[in-house]
């Protein structure tokens, strides 16, 4: 190892902190958009297939499937009077049909500082995954809404539908910066309060929540949202390039700890990191929350296909 390498290693963490800016211009280029078209073609309406049966409303609507009867009250639409029942029972009854609602998909993008750590690879990959899934949803005429969350809901894109709105999605995502601390619990409480219409909540986060990742997901579950966790992980986080006596501080909270980093300590850290990932997975599986671990080291094309296969999105 030369002197230059030693210098590079010594200054590596600093350069990482300095290099958080993202190349947003290249985030959603033409090539990316072509990939989205391809994905839209090969995907099927998994969201609707999965959701429609559970989302049938009891109110009358434009549906075709009979649901129930109720007594006629003045003001009801005469078209829904069941004349056969009147002939049989002598009562005016209104036929109720299930209404077919369009699906609401919420993308909750973690925009805390930890997502921008190490060159911002996690946030960049999260944005691209979010855009890809949103496009598929828009192409299937689902209602798509995006919120960014750190310790609060820091940004919001109103619900929209239709493929043409994808550029709005792009603009919104491009403007997202990694900053602030993570508190998914508080952020999700705000989210559920603001969004009465239940639906699928796709959480794109590294789940580095000092208060515990479980709180945020539980808030979604308890409020009858359907959480889908896309866990962004960076293998560099498992193997930090550290050696010697250092003072480590949390990039979000500033929490400091003195540690002498040795090979043995690094081994123990890697084991603890792996245990944390397994803990997340165990929680999601146990609570029947859809979970997918997205490694930022995997190329985007391969990663999105894995997400689709894992979620059963591909035909």
């Amino acid at each position: 190892m030369g002197l230059l390498d030693v210098f590079k290693r010594a200054t590596a963490p600093l350069s990482r902190r300095m290099g958080r800016t993202e190349a947003s211009e290249e985030l959603f280029d033409d090539e990316f958009q072509r990939k989205l078209d391809y994905l839209a073609m090969v995907s099927r309406r998994v969201f609707s297939g999965a959701m429609r049966a559970e989302r049938r409303t009891k109110k009358t609507g434009s549906g075709v499937e009979f649901a129930d009867h109720r007594d006629y009250v003045p003001g009801d639409d005469f078209r829904y009077l069941d004349w056969s029942a009147y002939q049989r029972f002598g009562r005016l009854l209104i036929r109720l049909y299930e209404e077919e609602e369009d699906l609401s998909i919420y993308f909750i993008l973690d925009s805390s500082a930890s997502m921008g750590f190490g060159g911002g690879q996690k946030l960049r990959q999260a944005k691209r995954l979010c855009a890809a899934l949103a496009y598929v949803g828009l192409a299937n005429l689902d209602r798509i809404a995006i919120v960014t969350a750190n310790d609060e809901i820091s940004g919001r894109m109103q619900a929209t539908r239709g493929k043409a709105r994808i550029f709005r999605v792009f603009r919104f995502l491009t403007a997202v910066k990694a900053e602030g601390a993570t508190d998914l619990g508080d952020a999700m409480k705000t989210f559920v309060a603001q969004h009465k219409r239940r639906g699928l909540a796709v959480v794109l986060s590294d789940l580095y929540d000092p208060a515990g990742f479980e709180r945020g997901l539980n808030v979604l579950r308890y409020n009858r949202f359907e959480p889908f966790v896309l866990h962004l992980v960076d293998s560099a986080d498992a193997r930090p390039d550290l050696r010697g006596d250092v003072r480590v501080y949390d990039c979000e909270t500033g929490d400091e700890r003195e540690v002498t980093v040795t090979a043995k300590v690094l081994e123990r850290y890697a084991a603890a990191y792996e245990e944390y990932l397994e803990e997340v997975k165990r929680f999601c599986v146990g609570k029947q929350v859809s979970y997918f671990r997205a490694d930022v080291g995997v190329p985007f094309d391969e990663l999105i296909l894995r997400v689709f296969r894992r979620g059963g999105f591909l035909r």
């Binding site: 750590f117 580095y208 986080d237 501080y249 929490d255 003195e258 540690v259 002498t260 123990r268």
Partner: protein, 635 residues
């Protein structure tokens, strides 16, 4: 325990200062490098375990401080050079006499006895204790101290390495006197003799050596004695036939077994004679080679075993000699005619004789010697040295020619009544019964030498004037029976040789181990002597002789004067010492009635200087600290 280095008070001050610095460094911790991490909670998980052992960590840090203070204490103690009280009084003062005489060149122990002796002494040096002091001296014909009385092993080892073998015997008495003088008044004195023990009786002109309270120990070197030697080697030219020479040598078998040897004689490097001899145990065999010719300068005798092997001491298997140089002397004879004179001069073919009548003097050219027969003309330049035979009274001779005395007294026969037999011109002659009919009494100056004298007065004188040497004989040889004797031509040739400084009694070789008086012809105060090994020494010249204690056999070159007028002479030196050729190791060494004991108390590797061990302890602790630091045990 005593501190012999830095005093205790200074050590305490130094310790306080350095200890304070160490503690301050311990308290002042280096600021750690801040590094951002994405999620400190994972670090908190692994550090939780470490925090559980924080007490142990603090202990380790305290241990690190204690270790540093311990290192400091050890270093300070080393500076103090602590010695035990026993060590302080036990310091010995030792003089090691290493025998470097010719017998130590024997190769019965590989590579040689001297090298084995050096190795033994090195072992002794390594076993010196901290308070011991030692002096190493080379013992040969002289005694040469090669170090001071020191306890420093490197100085002593350098002294041991400087020891060179000599082709001479050892002056044991002188070496013992030097050692006892050196050790006088010192505590625990000891003399260690490292030798084969063939040192002879330790006594000199002042009597036997007394050791007093000095302890004598002996390291014996050598195992066997299979040796034959050339113990004498001499050569001389015949006075009347200087082209020929004779050689006398003696070979000796100094061992207990018979030997077949080959004796070679080489003249100017060419083999002149080869003889095969059988030598019985301890047999001495003289050999005489008469009437040799051929060589003009160098002679060498070599001895080798007939079976092709070599004996244990090669140093005495050869001997060297130089023949006196010959040159043609130019002699002018101023005579009206003298058959006896002319006949005698014909005997030496190296004389270039020119005869002139008295009226024809001076003859053409320059001469080394002029013989005035019955005349004494004024001496002109180019005459050279002069021999006056029967000089007439007058003022031109460099001496006074006195009254005429005749053999006319019946009770007294005129002749030489007193003779200086040691004078060079009378060598090999007998003139005491020469009969003289008449003669002139000669009277020289005060510094002139009367060589032959009758009761009537001096008849033969010799002296030196500004023009050169002169010799005067006060009678006509034809008026005596001197001319009929063999002494006459000898006298004549001796005189000419003395004039031209060609010595027929030339010492063909010097003996090593003695002080040589080498003739130096110039009046210089110093001369340059080139030794057989090529090295050069400036030696003093006293009364025409260079003085040097020679210890190496071989050919030497003596140069006197400066480049312009440098005079060079060659001579040879030989061991020629039967005592040194007798290389059988002694069974015991006895001095002053006491037998030398074995060397004891020089155990290899046990040094009593504690500071060495303290430094070793510091090194060990530093190594442990280094190892544990890199294994992250103490961090």
């Amino acid at each position: 325990m005593h501190l012999t280095g830095v005093p205790l008070t200074t050590l305490i001050q130094l310790g306080a200062l350095a200890g304070a610095v160490v503690v301050v460094f311990y308290i002042l911790k280096l600021r750690r490098r801040p590094v951002a991490v994405p999620y400190s909670k994972i670090w908190a998980r692994i550090l939780k375990d470490k925090e559980a052992t924080s007490l142990f960590s603090q202990l380790k840090r305290l241990l690190s401080l204690l270790l540093q203070l311990a290192l400091l204490a050890l270093l300070l103690l080393a500076l103090g050079d602590p010695r035990s009280a026993a060590s302080l009084v036990e310091g010995r003062n030792v003089v090691v006499l290493i025998d470097a005489s010719a017998s130590m060149q024997a190769v019965d122990v590989a590579p040689s006895r001297l090298d084995a002796a050096k190795a033994e002494v090195k072992t002794i040096v390594r076993g010196l204790s901290g308070s011991d002091r030692m002096l190493v001296a080379q013992m040969d014909a002289a005694v040469t101290p090669l170090s001071t009385l020191t306890g420093e092993p490197s100085d002593l080892e350098a002294a041991i390495a400087a020891i060179r073998p000599a082709d001479a015997g050892a002056d044991f008495a002188r070496a013992l006197r030097f050692a006892t003088d050196t050790l006088r008044g010192l505590p625990s004195p000891e003399i260690i003799v490292v030798s084969d023990g063939a040192l002879g009786d330790p006594a000199d002109a002042a009597g036997p050596v007394h050791l007093g309270d000095v302890k004598l120990t002996w390291v014996k070197v050598g195992v066997r004695a299979r040796n034959a030697a050339i113990t004498s080697f001499s050569v001389r030219r015949y006075p009347l036939d200087k082209a020929r020479y004779e050689v006398m040598l003696e070979v000796q078998n100094t061992s207990e077994e018979a030997m077949d040897v080959e004796l070679s004689l080489l003249g100017d490097g060419q083999l002149t004679d080869l003889t095969r001899l059988r030598l019985g145990p301890h047999e001495k065999l003289p050999r005489f080679y008469p009437n040799l010719s051929g060589a003009s300068k160098t002679l060498e005798a070599r001895l080798a075993l007939a079976d092709g092997t070599r004996d244990d001491l090669p140093a005495d298997d050869h001997a060297y000699a130089l023949l006196p140089e010959r040159r043609r002397a130019r002699v002018q004879v101023v005579s009206a005619g003298n058959m006896f004179l002319e006949a005698a001069l014909l005997l030496d073919e190296f004389l270039d004789v020119t005869t002139v009548a008295p009226a024809g003097y001076p003859g053409k050219g320059a001469f080394d010697v002029t013989v005035f027969d019955g005349v004494a003309p004024p001496v002109v330049p180019g005459t050279g040295h002069t021999l006056y035979l029967n000089p007439p009274p007058g003022k031109d001779a460099p001496f006074e020619v006195g009254k005429l005395v005749e053999d006319d007294d019946a009770s007294y026969k005129l002749g030489f009544d007193e003779l200086d037999a040691k004078h060079p011109i009378l060598r090999w002659t007998s003139l005491s019964d020469v009969n003289v009919a008449r003669a002139h009494v000669l009277k020289g100056q005060k510094e002139d030498k009367v060589v032959g004298k009758s009761q009537k007065g001096p008849l033969l004188i010799a002296g030196r004037r500004a023009a050169g040497k002169f010799v005067a004989l006060g009678f006509d040889v034809r008026e005596s029976d001197f001319a009929l004797r063999i002494a006459w031509p000898l006298f004549l040739l001796n005189t000419i040789n003395d004039f031209v400084e060609e010595d027929t009694g030339y010492i063909s070789s010097f003996r090593t181990g003695t002080v040589w008086q080498i003739p130096a012809s110039s009046a210089a105060e110093t001369a340059t002597l080139e030794l057989p090994d090529g090295s050069k020494r400036v030696v003093p010249v006293k009364e025409g002789r260079a003085v040097f204690l020679g210890q190496i056999a071989g050919f030497y070159k003596l140069t006197t004067g400066t480049n312009g007028s440098a005079e060079t002479s060659l001579f040879a030196a030989n061991l020629s010492d039967p005592a040194e050729s007798t290389i059988a190791p002694s069974e015991k060494l006895e001095v002053d009635g006491r037998a030398a004991g074995a060397v004891a108390g020089f155990t290899l590797g046990v040094r009593r200087e504690l500071w060495v061990y303290l430094l070793v302890a510091v090194l060990v602790l530093t190594a442990i600290e280094w190892l544990t630091y890199h294994r992250r045990v103490t961090v």
